[in-house]
């Protein structure tokens, strides 16, 4: 769990063409800051004529990753860092810092306590919701300032190709017939996204699995190939190469809709040919947030700066390619729309975890 492997990639959705809503005023704001960044601002203006922001970072920006090096969140953060550097999207350097202690609690508490610090941002995974519930460490998304949803990570139900099950329905039936706890579901970490999906399947289909927590998604996929477990809910990018090599079979995807990528991936099938779990009779929906947050007390101008920055990141070819490779849901949300999504996701996690008995009393 310290090393959560979670990549995610992209697809085209209606959100791809976003509009530049001027929700936040971009009036010049604090004289001193504006003066201090005159040079940086001028540089920025030269390169990006549209980026007339009222606020710009005046020193290096800390990019906190509440997970270990090498995991999915870490990969995405370093990808973003690379894109920003390569395309000169920011005049100040951006530095990635891992604070993975206590299933990410360390990182979130750091941002929570960074009141009015506009030079610190954090990328989230589902531990934004699960860690406070499972460990009792006090933080929630409301303690921070939501900036933007970058993408949603997909989850797919996988079995070994040697297994007879060809659909989610057959899988659930086989798990039922096998008896309680006989099917072993592998996943990343404990009481985090993978185990929550497992619990959701149990609750929805009336089966029970033995959940085996591993350190990273790559480990889980290899364990499934080696038949040490019966199934996994790996992210697409963690298992795609084993799918293409004919070792793993995807049964269904846990998003609301099918993944819209129609290019063949393996065996003539594309991401789009995988049915959603719901259409194959397993009523479970789950995606994982890849979002950006800041500490509390930051100004609208500062939020607007980062929203704008990430819009530019999303427009780069590198980002689009990364999204497509990992079959991400490329939804982008900011402002109130994002907050509404967050509130709903928080309730979803609370309900699922309460029911499964994962919440710390």
């Amino acid at each position: 769990m310290k090393d959560v492997q979670r990549p995610r990639c992209a697809r085209k959705t209606p959100f791809d063409s976003f509009t530049f809503k001027k929700t936040h005023g971009r009036r010049p704001h604090r004289g001193s800051i504006a003066g201090g960044t005159a040079l940086a601002g001028a540089l920025g203006l030269l390169l990006l004529p549209n980026a007339a922001n009222a606020w710009e970072p005046t020193k290096s920006v800390e990019f906190v990753v509440p997970a270990g090096t090498g995991g999915g969140a870490d990969q995405m953060a370093r990808m973003i860092q690379g894109i920003i550097q390569k395309n000169n999207l920011m005049a100040q350097p951006i530095v990635v810092i891992n604070k993975s202690g206590g299933a990410g609690a360390e990182g979130f508490l750091d941002v929570k306590s960074s009141n009015r610090n506009p030079h610190k941002i954090i990328i989230t995974l589902s531990n934004l919701f699960t860690t406070p519930l499972a460990t009792g460490v006090p933080f929630s998304w409301k303690d921070m300032t939501p900036v933007a949803m970058l993408a949603l990570d997909n989850f797919v139900l996988w079995v070994n190709t040697e297994a007879p099950q060809k659909s989610a329905k057959e899988f659930v039936e086989a798990a039922k017939e096998g008896g309680a706890n006989r099917f072993k579901m592998g996943g990343t970490g404990s009481k985090q996204e993978d185990q929550i999906i497992t619990a959701a399947i149990e609750q929805s289909a009336g089966v029970t699995f033995t959940y085996v927590p591993y350190k990273g998604g790559g480990d889980v996929a290899a364990q499934l190939v080696g038949n040490h477990i019966n199934s996994s809910v790996n992210n697409p990018i963690e298992a795609v190469s084993q799918w293409r090599a004919g070792a793993l079979r995807p049964l269904c995807v846990f998003d609301k809709e099918r993944i819209p990528l129609k290019e063949p991936v393996a065996d003539g099938k594309s991401w789009n040919s995988i049915p959603t779990c719901k259409e194959s009779g397993l009523d479970v929906e789950y995606t994982m947030l890849r979002g950006i947050f800041m500490g509390p007390g930051v100004t609208p101008d500062q939020i607007a700066y980062y929203v704008d920055l990430f819009k530019k990141v999303r427009e780069t070819d590198e980002w689009k390619d990364f999204m497509a490779k990992g079959a991400f849901n490329v939804s982008f949300k900011t402002g109130d729309e994002f907050k509404t999504w967050l509130a709903a996701a928080e309730t979803q996690h609370k309900t699922l975890m309460d029911k499964a008995g994962f919440t710390k009393q």
């Binding site: 870490d74 202690g101 460490v137 790559g218």
Partner: protein
């Protein structure tokens, strides 16, 4: 032969002068990263990863993997000179490397360490070149029970061979297990022994403990003993390299055993640190000079270094073929593959021939380049010991503090390092062994989760550890290792009907 053809093609990829330049830059950076305690290979590679974004994937991986080779080499330098392991896998190198330096043989110890590293890496690269597909399949047979068996084997091959009293070994080990348990419990997802403290969420990091116990502890001891380095008479001319080389072939058994242990641990994947401990333990057990281990025995440097470098190198194999990182650094490189748009997994060898064979070819050249770089610096590093202690000691303390801070960017870690320093000093004074503590700290976490995963899989049935010949074989071997001193004593007693003078072993 197909492998050979591909390899030649790989060398062709390397012929690009830019790639050669990246290789040397990588090695040099890596040695520096290896020398600085705390800033490990994983952190170093992670920091430089975004810089490689605009390079071709092949150049990028060549540079980053060369940083890794450099770090593997560099970790030995401070271990030998100052008893401060620059990297986790060089902890075992301090056991004999530092006593050698104290006796004035720093140059010999460094040469032996670098040459053994090179030998270990070379064996591992040969293995990757010719047996990659076979080995990849083998790694898939490792489930939780098999992982636990390997970790048990590491413990058993290391435990119970010291001259310290079994009680002291056990106490040190139990303290290590207790420290390893602090933080998040990876099986239940709940916090353990953090007592509501935010700082304790991270748990006790192995690196910080090691910097404190060994580095700061050693400085405290030296201060007490007269504010001077022992062994400043170290020879610092280049001849020392040749002289050491002449003596090294004697240790061929140890070197081969170390390489096998290392390759095995890198592939399974257990990692370089356990590999170095296991190899040291085995060497000490089977060596004719076992009495001299811990007092500056060349064999005690050869064993951990060959294993660490063999493991570090072969750890890239499961990364390339299966997408499982064999070490923390491999995990970061794996992230790099995805960022550069490559898909690690079974098809990488087929679809990205140029990339894979370029990387493998760079392993050959990178290690040769690394060996040249580090060997030429032996006299320079050995001469550091001639700088007066009162000048170099504060510098070391500052470097240690910076290193400890780098691990998690946390100030408390510096305090923790100092506390561990005092603990290390007290341990030495009371002649408690540090190695079992460190081993328990680095392996305790892994062994615990593997054991509990295995118990989950088997629904609590211990028979899972004998459920197939692979796991059963390793567990039996481990137990035989654990009880071997006892068994051999009994056998000898029966044979000679005399008192076998061997010490008893602690039984867990």
């Amino acid at each position: 032969m197909e492998a050979l053809g591909s390899l030649i093609h790989g060398f062709g990829v390397l012929a690009d002068p830019m790639n050669i330049a990246y290789m040397f830059i990588g090695i040099t950076l890596g040695v520096l990263i290896g020398v600085l305690p705390g800033l490990g290979g994983a952190n170093g590679v992670a920091i430089l990863l975004p810089l490689t974004f605009s390079m071709s994937p092949t150049s990028a991986i060549i540079m980053l993997s060369c940083i890794y080779w450099g770090a593997l080499f560099g970790g030995a330098i401070t271990s030998v000179l100052f008893n401060i392991p620059g990297e986790p896998w060089s902890v075992a190198t301090t056991f004999d490397g530092h006593p050698m330096a104290q006796k004035g043989h720093a140059g010999e110890a460094l040469t032996a360490a670098f040459t053994s590293s090179f030998f270990g890496a070379f064996v591992a690269v040969l293995l990757i070149t010719f047996l990659a597909p076979v080995i990849a399949g083998f790694a898939l047979r490792f489930g939780p029970a098999e992982f636990f068996a390997v970790q048990l084997l590491t413990f058993c091959s290391f435990v119970g061979m010291g001259s310290e009293s079994p009680f002291k070994v056990l106490s040190a080990m139990m303290l290590g297990f207790a420290l390893a348990a602090v933080g998040l419990d990876s099986v239940t997802g709940e916090l353990r022994m953090t007592f509501g403290s935010v700082e304790l969420l991270r748990g006790f990091d192995f690196l910080i403990a090691v910097i404190g116990l060994f580095g700061i502890g050693e400085i405290l001891l030296t201060m007490e003993e007269g504010l001077a380095f022992k062994g400043k008479s170290a020879k610092i001319n280049a001849k020392v390299v040749w002289e050491t080389w002449k003596s090294l072939p004697r240790y061929w058994v140890t070197a081969i055993r170390g390489s096998i242990v290392g390759c095995w641990m890198g592939i399974t994947p257990g990692g370089a640190t356990p590999a170095s401990f296991m190899s040291y333990g085995l060497a000490k057990r089977f060596s004719r000079n076992r009495q001299n281990f811990g007092n500056g025995e060349v064999e005690g440097v050869v064993a951990p270094e060959t294993a660490a470098h063999a493991a570090g190198t072969s750890a890239l194999l499961p990364m390339l073929t299966l997408g499982i990182p064999g070490s923390p650094t491999a995990a970061v490189l794996l992230g790099g593959l995805l960022i550069w748009g490559l898909q690690p997994g079974p098809l990488l060898f087929v679809e990205q021939k140029e990339f894979v064979w370029g990387l493998i070819a760079s392993m050959y050249l990178g290690n040769i380049a690394g060996l040249i770089v580090v060997l030429t610096t032996v006299p320079v590093f050995a001469s550091i010991l001639r700088i007066p202690f009162s000048i170099i000691a504060p510098v070391i303390v500052v470097i240690c503090a910076v290193g400890a801070y780098t691990v998690h960017n946390a100030f408390l870690d510096i305090v923790m390092m100092l506390v561990f320093g005092v603990v290390g000093y007290v341990f030495k004074k009371l002649s408690y062994p540090l190695a079992p503590l460190v081993l328990a700290l680095v392996l305790g976490d892994m062994a615990e989760s593997s054991f509990r995963q295995a118990m989950l899989v088997s629904q609590g049935d211990l028979a899972i550890f004998w459920s197939n010949p692979l796991v059963g074989g390793i567990v039996t071997l481990a137990l035989a290792m654990l009880f071997w001193p006892l068994i051999s004593t009994l056998l000898r007693k029966r044979q000679s009907r005399q008192d076998g003078g061997t010490h008893a072993i602690p039984v867990k």
